[in-house]
Symmetry: C2
Subunit: 200 residues, 2 copies
């Protein structure tokens, strides 16, 4: 059976096609934009074909929605890591979240928030991705409000909105203007906003 | 000459093709997204043809850049109107800008900032639109810093960044989550941020 070994050793063989398609979609959609990438390019990058892609995802819209569900799962996991790193310390979790997000925003290969970018690219109100985006963003806001409240900061909802919109705006600004000085400015703003809501 | 009157009365006849093409591009690019709209659709909406479009704009990329130059001109004109409405009163100009932007963000047919949306849709670093976006956003930031300084607010650069990113984030949030309660939250945040930088 030696003749078959190069095939059985092919790393793509070990990963089921559905996962390979999702991994390729995630990379291409994020890098180039959802509208700029067709299902042919995704199938090719995943080492499969369009027929297999459509067997797993009934349409490109469904593939986009599933790509964003994966992103949302990743964000939920990141929140759990933050909690595990600073158990019982809400203020430390809040500051670690701000630091992680800021580092992310000013990294060279950052292309903005995949969920916000998708909202910009998909104006159709009935697109299946819309609900995924809305649910994930709403959950993230609730999370930050809960942290601000647990950290006993004043007007936790207001502060959470200030921090959330600052980061959301910074991710867009990194795309439109660039990242020069942005990290330092985010740090100053975060500190000033938290200080203005100083512990009750 | 009565037989020709329906043609000479055609309103499209009075507007030169270049302007009709730009108006159609502006509407379609903003409404549906830059990637989602082809030059054929723009030529058709402008009541002309692709050949005429390419006579005025050598490529779709150049048409996109010119569309964003028009947006930038509109923003510059809006700043001038604010100055004219509140001559010599920087704080009133700043508050009026925040109010105008907030009203804009929560209007039903808002689709976000055309410049920021374009930055999301166009990852290509050498796209001719990139410079237009960067210049307009950089000029807007300088404008807000100058206003905060003229209004004698403390740490004007920090406050300008806080307000700018808040609005940029809100425009994205309106697309991804919706506008429920957003106007009231923007008002509270604006007031809180300005108060925290209260006049020196």
């Amino acid at each position: 059976m030696t003749a078959k070994s190069p095939v059985t050793l092919d790393p793509t063989e070990k990963i089921p096609p559905r996962e390979r398609i999702l991994a390729a979609a995630r990379e291409l959609f994020y890098r180039n934009g959802i509208r700029a990438v067709g299902v042919d390019a995704i199938a090719e990058a995943a080492g499969t074909n369009k027929m297999t892609l459509y067997r797993h995802f009934p349409s490109k819209d469904e593939l986009v929605a599933e790509y964003l569900r994966q992103v949302a799962k990743g964000e939920a996991a990141a929140w759990e890591r933050l909690q595990a790193q600073h158990p019982g310390d809400a203020l430390a979790q809040l500051r670690a979240w701000l630091k992680d997000m800021s580092d992310h925003i000013i990294s060279r290969d950052e292309r903005g928030c995949p969920l916000a970018n998708a909202a910009v690219e998909l104006p159709e109100k009935d697109h299946p991705a819309k609900r995924v985006i809305e649910e994930c963003k709403t959950a993230a806001r609730a999370k930050v409000i809960a942290l601000c409240r647990a950290a006993k900061l004043k007007e936790p909802e207001l502060l959470a909105d200030e921090l959330n919109l600052m980061l959301e705006g910074a991710r867009v600004t990194a795309q439109s203007v660039g990242i020069d000085g942005l990290g330092a400015r985010l740090k100053r703003m975060s500190d000033a906003l938290i200080a203005a809501h100083g512990p009750k």
